[in-house]
Amino acid sequence: MSGARRLLAGLNRRPRLAAAALLGPGTLWLLLFFFVPIAVVFAYSFMTRGVYGGVTGGFTLEHYRRFLDPLYLGVLRRTVALAVSCTVLCLVVGYPVAYTIARAGRWKHLLLFLIVVPLWTSFLVRTYALIFLLRDTGFVNAVLLALGVVREPLVLLYTPGAVLAGLVYGYLPLMVLPIYVSLEKLDPTLLEAAEVLGARPLARFWRITLPLSAPGVVAGAMLVFIPALGAFLTPDLLGGAKQMMVGTLVQNQFGGARNWPFGSAVSFILMAVVLVAVLAYLRLRDRAPMEAVA
């Protein structure tokens, strides 16, 4: 114990050593088990597929070339379109919700808690709950049949609509939270000033509230867009096998198809699209407050 004590006291007199000692284990872990694996994926994406599903060395661009096939480009296009639709829907639904929470007074904390809970509830369980609701003999159809709204059960599950609904249901809180944060920070005296100066409610919203909450909107859009782009569970469970997405394509290459190099190449293309989204976010974020002021 006294040895450890001396060591700690010694470290405290050498701040650079102390910083290195504090950072070392954690950054090493991230390096070994986050960054190195990504590099391994990159390396695999240029290798040749082996006979039994493994890889053999050598350098080839065939997997990236294969992705240019209209079939796979269609998968990418469909995935991006789905992620964009999901983001737009989350924004349209999430903005009014965030706005209400920000002005909910004493209910604010409870409402925030209710927004956060789904985020940390198992995504799998929530998706399964949707299956339970939407399948032919599920809860929604049972209610509709009992009320006499429909005569035949509706086909709700395993449709593109189900996948989109599942994604919006899953990621809505990620949109609401950052918008809420930026609305919360908004200085109410600005709105009062505008009112005194004769701006109508709609004008106050368009010219003050919306521009000032733009950073939250942009952050929320990125938080929703990225996981929607890489979604694998939702298209897999709610879309059935019909709707191939980039996420399910990657999973297939590592599961049934056992084509690791092609799966790696697709993963890297996915990472590239995400990177473009992040860069676009950073540019927008740096510009957003300027517009608000102008």
Binding site: L22, F34, P96, Y128, L133
Partner: protein, 263 residues
């Protein structure tokens, strides 16, 4: 404060209902006697009793708890150390490190999962509990760092300075002043790491092997095959546990801005 338009309140209420209804319905029907239909045929705890008889579910629960406990411990220690370094030390590459810490948070889960799978395959490491722990630590360290750091930023440093002035050495100051002040942040980070660990499906799916099935991976394979009330029951247990954990996380981080509390 101006009153909100009624239509806005109604819309928000509808969204909250839709956000929570599916899981609530799932939980209610875990108490339904009928095995196949969604007709309510009476209250029963039969499906929960059956959980205790299912060896596969109990084994998965053991794996989930073991992985959760070990990975939380490691991630909390490592994440707290990084947070301390970032908050208290100036060093070269600090901004770069901060940026890199956010990378695991924005990388699609499926990419993290397959990249670890490829690493373990390349190293000829057998997939099992240890590979799951390694993966869970890798994705939760960043989150712990963010939470603990938020607490550190809000901490009053004069207390530590006072302790040092009054003759306590650095070690005593750290143990008797810094650590107790920091403990709610550390506990919140640990709760978050544990919640993420027992909930994670996508990454675990790729790095778990035969005999190391976690609860979410088991639920997935069950849900793909059939719909049965035991899935509802085990899902409900998982949801209740995480909700309680998040409730405590919320209590620990409350009152210091919405950002930290909600992450």
């Amino acid at each position: 404060m101006r009153r909100l338009p009624r239509s806005l309140v109604a819309f928000t209420a509808l969204c909250f209902v839709l956000l929570h209804l599916p899981v609530l319905v799932l939980a209610v029907f875990s108490l339904n006697r009928s095995r196949f239909s969604v007709q309510w045929t009476g209250f029963t705890l039969e499906w929960y009793r059956r959980l205790l008889e299912r060896q596969d579910i109990l084994a998965a629960l053991r794996v989930s708890l073991t992985v959760g406990a070990v990975s939380t411990l490691v991630a909390t220690v490592l994440g707290t150390m990084i947070a301390l370094a970032l908050a208290r030390h100036r060093f070269r590459g600090r901004t770069l490190l901060e940026g890199l810490l956010y990378l695991p948070i924005v990388t699609p889960e499926i990419v993290v999962g397959i990249s670890l799978l490829l690493l373990f395959a390349t190293l000829h490491m057998a997939l099992g509990i240890s590979t799951i722990v390694v993966a869970h630590v890798a994705f939760s360290v960043s989150f712990v760092t963010v939470v603990v750091r938020a607490r550190l930023e809000g901490m009053d440093r004069t207390l530590e300075e006072a302790a040092l002035t009054l003759g306590a050495d650095e070690v005593a100051t750290f143990r008797r002043v810094t650590l107790p002040l920091l403990s709610p942040g550390i506990l919140a980070g640990a709760l978050l790491a544990f919640t993420m660990s027992i909930d994670d499906f996508v990454i675990t799916f790729f790095v778990s092997g035969p005999g190391s099935t976690t609860l979410p991976v088991l639920i997935y394979s069950m849900a793909r095959r059939t719909i049965e009330p035991t899935i509802n029951a085990v899902s409900t247990v998982l949801v209740v546990v995480t909700t309680v954990l998040i409730f405590f996380f919320d209590r620990l981080t409350r009152g210091r801005g919405p950002r930290e509390g909600t992450l």
